[in-house]
C-alpha cells in the first residue's frame, strides 16, 4: 500500500459553525435522574423501616404507637429486654437451632452433591430432581406434617413406635426443630453446593495431579480452597434464612415452649392476649440484625463483592467420576431414604389426614371414615378463593417490583461510575441482613403512623416482600448484567438509539433469562413466605400461608392438611418450572 500522505498540514481552521438555537445550558443526564430516583426508592423501602425500628426501640410505647405524639424517648426497652432472662434463653436457642440445622443440612447436602456430581451413582439426573423437589414444600407445611407424624399425643409414627418398642419421640423439642429445619434445608443447600462443585473446572484439579499431587493433596490444596468461597457464601446465606424463619419455631417450638428470637419478636408484637409491646419487639429485631450482620460482613470482607458475583463458568468438560463399586446402590439407597423422609412421608401423612374427618391413627375404622369433604369445604369457601387470589397478587406484584428495582439497581451499580454506587450497593444489600420479622414489624409501624392507607391490605405485604427480596433480586440481576459486555450498550448509543431504546431493544432482550429466573425465584419465595404476611396480618389480607397457619392454630387439622396438600402441589410444580428454566440457561 502506498502512502497517501505528504499533503500540507490542515489548512486554516474553518469558520466557526453556524450558531444554532442554544439549548438549556445543562440538564441532568438520564443516568443521573435514574440514580436519584432509584436511591430515593431504596431509601424509602429499606432505610425507612430501619430508622423506624431503631426509633421505636428507644420509645416508650406502652401507651400507644411509637413515634406518635405522646411517646417519650427512653432506654427502658433495652434495660427491660436485657434484664430479662428469657432474652438470653431465646438468644441461646437461636444459636443452637441455627447451628444444628445448618450442620445437618450441610452434611447431607455436601454428601449428596458429591455423590451426584463426582461419582458414578446410578440415575444421577432423577436423583437430582427428587432431591430438589422438596424445596417446593414450604417449611410451614413440612412442620405441620412432622407434627402430625411425631407429636407426643397421636403422631402416626409415635403410635407405631409405642406399640412396637414402647417409647415415643417428641417433635415439640429443640432436637425436633433442628431435625425438621435441617432436613428441610437440604434441597436449597444442595443446589448451592452442587452449583459450586459443577462450576469448578476439573482441569484445575488435573493441573494439580499432573504437577505430582496425590488425590488427598489435590483435595486439600485445590478442591477445598477453591470451593471455600462458594461454600462460605451458601453458609452465610443460609444462616440468615434460618435465624429469620418463623415456620418451625411457631409450629414445633411454641407447643414445646422453645422460643427463638424470631418467635420472640412475633409473640411480643402480636401477642395472643394483651397489648403489643412494640418497644421490646424492636429491641429483639435489632438483636436479630446484630446476629446476622456479623457473619455477612465477615463474608463480604473475606470474599469481596466482586467474587460473590463471579459467574459460574460453563462446564467445559465432564470431570472424571469416582467409581463407587459395590457402594453404588447403598449410596442410592441413602439418597432414597432422604427423599422418603424429606418429602414422601410428610406428603403422604398430609394426604391421609386431609381425607379424614378428624385426626387419629391409621386403623380399619379410619379407612372406613375416608371422605373428601375437607376438599369440598375448602374449595367452596370464599375465604380460600380470596386467599389464593391474594397469594397470586402477592407473588406477582412482589416479583415484578423486586425484579424491576433490582435490575435498575444492578445496572447502576455495574455501569455507572457515579459516587452514589456505594450507597446503592449498601441499600440493596441491607434487606439481606434485615430479618423478616423485623421488616414486618417496622413496616407495620410505619403504616400505622404514616397516613398512607395501605395498612391491613395486601399491598403492605407486597411492599414488605419487595423490600425483603430486593437483595436476592439484585444478586441475580447483577450477575446477569455483568455478563453483558458494556460495548453492546455503547454500540446501541453510537447507532443512534436513545437510552430508552437501548434498554428496550438490547438490554431487556439480553437480560430476559435473568429476569425470568429472578422473577420466578422471588415469586416462589413470596408465596411460601409465612413471616411477613403473619406479621402484617389483618382480616383483609389473608394469603395461603396465613390461612393455613390460622386453621392449624385453631385446631382445624383436616382443613390445614387439605390446604397443605393443595399448596404443596402448586409450589412443587412452580419450583419444578423454575428449575427447568434455570437449567436451560
Amino acid at each position: 500500500m502506498t502512502l497517501l500522505g505528504d499533503r500540507p498540514a490542515a489548512a486554516a481552521p474553518p469558520p466557526p459553525p453556524a450558531a444554532r438555537p442554544s439549548r438549556r445550558s445543562w440538564r441532568p443526564s438520564g443516568r443521573v435522574v435514574l440514580t436519584v430516583v432509584v436511591v430515593a426508592i431504596l431509601l424509602y423501602l429499606v432505610a425507612g423501616p430501619l430508622i423506624m425500628l431503631v426509633g421505636s426501640s428507644f420509645q416508650d410505647s406502652s401507651t400507644g404507637l411509637p413515634l406518635s405524639a405522646g411517646a417519650e424517648w427512653t432506654l427502658e426497652n433495652y434495660t427491660r429486654v436485657f434484664g430479662n432472662e428469657q432474652t438470653y434463653t431465646a438468644l441461646g436457642n437461636t444459636l443452637i437451632f441455627a447451628g444444628g440445622a445448618l450442620a445437618i443440612a450441610f452434611t447431607l447436602a455436601v454428601l449428596f452433591a458429591w455423590l451426584i456430581e463426582r461419582t458414578d451413582i446410578p440415575f444421577p439426573n432423577a436423583s437430582f430432581v427428587l432431591l430438589v423437589a422438596p424445596s417446593g414444600m414450604p417449611f410451614l407445611i413440612v412442620s405441620i406434617a412432622w407434627s402430625l407424624l411425631l407429636n407426643p399425643t397421636n403422631g402416626l409414627i409415635n403410635q407405631l413406635l409405642d406399640t412396637w418398642f414402647g417409647f415415643t419421640v417428641n417433635i415439640y423439642s429443640m432436637a425436633g426443630m433442628i431435625f425438621v429445619q435441617g432436613i428441610g434445608m437440604v434441597p436449597i443447600t444442595f443446589l448451592l453446593v452442587s452449583a459450586a462443585i459443577k462450576g469448578m473446572s476439573s482441569s484445575l484439579e488435573d493441573a494439580a495431579s499432573t504437577s505430582g499431587a496425590t488425590l488427598p493433596q489435590t483435595l486439600r490444596r485445590v478442591t477445598v480452597p477453591m470451593m471455600t468461597p462458594a461454600l462460605l457464601g451458601a453458609f452465610v446465606y443460609l444462616i440468615v434464612n434460618v435465624v429469620d424463619t418463623l415456620d418451625v419455631p411457631l409450629v414445633l417450638g411454641l407447643p414445646g415452649h422453645e422460643i427463638v428470637l424470631s418467635s420472640q419478636v412475633y409473640l411480643t408484637s402480636r401477642p395472643p392476649a394483651g397489648l403489643p409491646d412494640y418497644g421490646a419487639a424492636s429491641v429483639y429485631g435489632i438483636l436479630m440484625i446484630g446476629m446476622v450482620i456479623v457473619p455477612l460482613l465477615v463474608y463480604n470482607r473475606l470474599i469481596g463483592r466482586a467474587n460473590a458475583y463471579t459467574t459460574i463458568g460453563s462446564r467445559a468438560r465432564h470431570p472424571k467420576k469416582l467409581q463407587l463399586g459395590i457402594w453404588r446402590y447403598p449410596a442410592l439407597g441413602l439418597l432414597g431414604l432422604y427423599v422418603l423422609i424429606g418429602f414422601v412421608l410428610p406428603f403422604l401423612v398430609l394426604i391421609w389426614v386431609s381425607i379424614q374427618p378428624f385426626y387419629e391413627g391409621i386403623s380399619q375404622a379410619a379407612v372406613d371414615r375416608i371422605t373428601f369433604d375437607g376438599y369440598r369445604d375448602i374449595f367452596s369457601s370464599g375465604a380460600v378463593g380470596e386467599a389464593f387470589l391474594n397469594t397470586l397478587i402477592l407473588g406477582a406484584a412482589a416479583g415484578i417490583t423486586a425484579v424491576a428495582l433490582a435490575t435498575l439497581t444492578s445496572w447502576l451499580i455495574v455501569r455507572s461510575r457515579s459516587r452514589a454506587t456505594w450507597m446503592l450497593d449498601l441499600l440493596a444489600f441491607m434487606p439481606h441482613a434485615f430479618p423478616g420479622v423485623a421488616i414486618g414489624l417496622s413496616i407495620s409501624l410505619i403504616y400505622l403512623v404514616l397516613p398512607i392507607p395501605i395498612y391491613g391490605t395486601i399491598w403492605i405485604v407486597v411492599l414488605a416482600m419487595a423490600t425483603q427480596y430486593v437483595s436476592l433480586g439484585t444478586r441475580l440481576t447483577t450477575s446477569g448484567i455483568v455478563q453483558i459486555q458494556e460495548t453492546l450498550e455503547k454500540a446501541g448509543a453510537t447507532s443512534g438509539a436513545a437510552m430508552r431504546t437501548v434498554w428496550r431493544r438490547i438490554l431487556v432482550p439480553l437480560l430476559r433469562p435473568a429476569f425470568v429466573n429472578a422473577f420466578l425465584l422471588v415469586f416462589l419465595a413470596s408465596i411460601q413466605n409465612l413471616t411477613l404476611p403473619l406479621m402484617l396480618q389483618s382480616p383483609d389480607n389473608t394469603v395461603a400461608s396465613t390461612l393455613l397457619w390460622g386453621h392449624w392454630d385453631r385446631g382445624n387439622v383436616t382443613s390445614a392438611a387439605v390446604l397443605s396438600v393443595v399448596m404443596t402441589i402448586i409450589t412443587v410444580l412452580a419450583a419444578g418450572f423454575l428449575r427447568n428454566t434455570t437449567r436451560k440457561m
Binding site: G5, D6, P13, Q485, L488, A493, T494, G496
Partner: protein, 406 residues
Amino acid sequence: MNETREADELEVEETGGPRKHAIHVRGLEHVYGTGKKKFTAVDHISFSVEESRFYTLLGPSGCGKSTTLHCIAGLERPTSGEIELGDTVVVSSRRFVPTHRRDIGMVFQDYAVWPHMTVFENVAFPLRVSRHKVRDVKERVMRILETVGMAHLSQRRPSELSGGQQQRVSLARALVREPSVLLLDEPLSNLDATLREQMRAELRQIQRRLKVTTIFVTHDQYEALAMSNRIAVMRNGTIVQEGTPREIYREPKDAFVASFIGVSSFIEGTLQTTDDDGFGWVDSNVGRMRTRVSPDAVAGDRVLVVVRPEGVVLQPLGTESQENHFPAVVDYRLYLGGGYDYRLQVGGVPVRATRPANEPYRNKDKAVVHLPAEECIAIPAGEEQHAPPPGTIPEDPRDQVPGGLT
C-alpha cells in the same frame, strides 16, 4: 454507494454549501474520578480532521486514545473542551449532544455485535431506531452487507460467525446510516495476523470508497503508517506529534516518537553547525557526522541522531575515512527471511541495520557502517534519557517486514 453519495452532495449543493464532514477537537480534557483518585486521561488536546480523511490516533497503551474517541462519540462527557462534528458543535461548555444524536458510526474493539439479533437485524438497527423514518431499510442493509462481503450470511446469528466476520458486521452496522464520521477503536486488534493484514486493506478501501471521515485508534505503528492520511502520536494524554505518516517516520520530533514509530538507533552528540539546506554537523559519540537537523534543534544543543535500520549501509573495511563512515563490529544477526537484522556496535553505541541476505557479514565480523546523512536526523535530546533503549522497543515480530515501509 458511490452514486448515492454523489447524488447527496449534489442535492446539498443546490440548497447551500457542500456538506462538511470535518472534525474539530479543541482543548479537549478528560479527568476520570475525583479527589485523590483524580486522573487526567486526556490533557487539553486539539486536532482537526479534514473531510473524508483517515486520521489515526497512535500511542502506547493507556495514553488516552480510547478516551479521546469516546469523548468524540459522546460515551464520555469531557471535563472541558470543544468538539465539532460536521458543522455541529457537539461538545462545548454550554452544550453536550448525547451519543445517539451524533451523526457517527463506531466499531468497537470487541465488535459488540448483539448476540440476540441476526446479522441483518444488527445492521438494520441504526436505521430502525433512526429519528427519521427510513423506507428502504432492507435495500440499504443488503447493500452495505454487500460492501463488506457479508450479504450471504445475513440470516446468521453472531455466535455462528468467525471473528473476522463479526468485525465486518460491526463495520457494516457503523456505516449503514452513512454517518459523517466513522470512529474505529482498535478494530483489528482481535484478529490474527493474516486476517488483520487483509482487513487493514479492505477497511481502507471501503473507507476511501464511501469517503467517510474516519478516526482510527491503534497502538500498532505499522497499521497507523499503512492506513492513515495523518497520524497523531499520543503520550500521557497529550499529542506529541502530528503529521503525515512520512513526516512522522522521517522527522520524529523526539526520542519517544522515534522509538515508538518503527525501530530506531540513537546516537548522542552535540549539534555544531546547521546549514540552510536542513543539514548540519553533529559531534557524536561515534564521531563527527553530517545529518538532517530537526527544526527544533539549534547549534550547541545536546542532540540525538536517529537512524532507521533500513537506512544503514554496511561496507567492507577500508572505507572508514569517508563522510559518515564508522568502524563497526557485528554483535550478532537475526535471519528475517527477506534479509538479516544486524545488531552492530559502533564505537560502543548499539546500531541496528536491516540488510539483504546476500551480504557477507557474520557474527563478530568487523565492518564499516555508513550512516547516510539523508537517513539520519538530529533531534533535541530533551531532559529525559531517550526512553526505551533500542532493542527493547515494543514490537511485534510478525510485523517486522524489513524495508517494507519505505
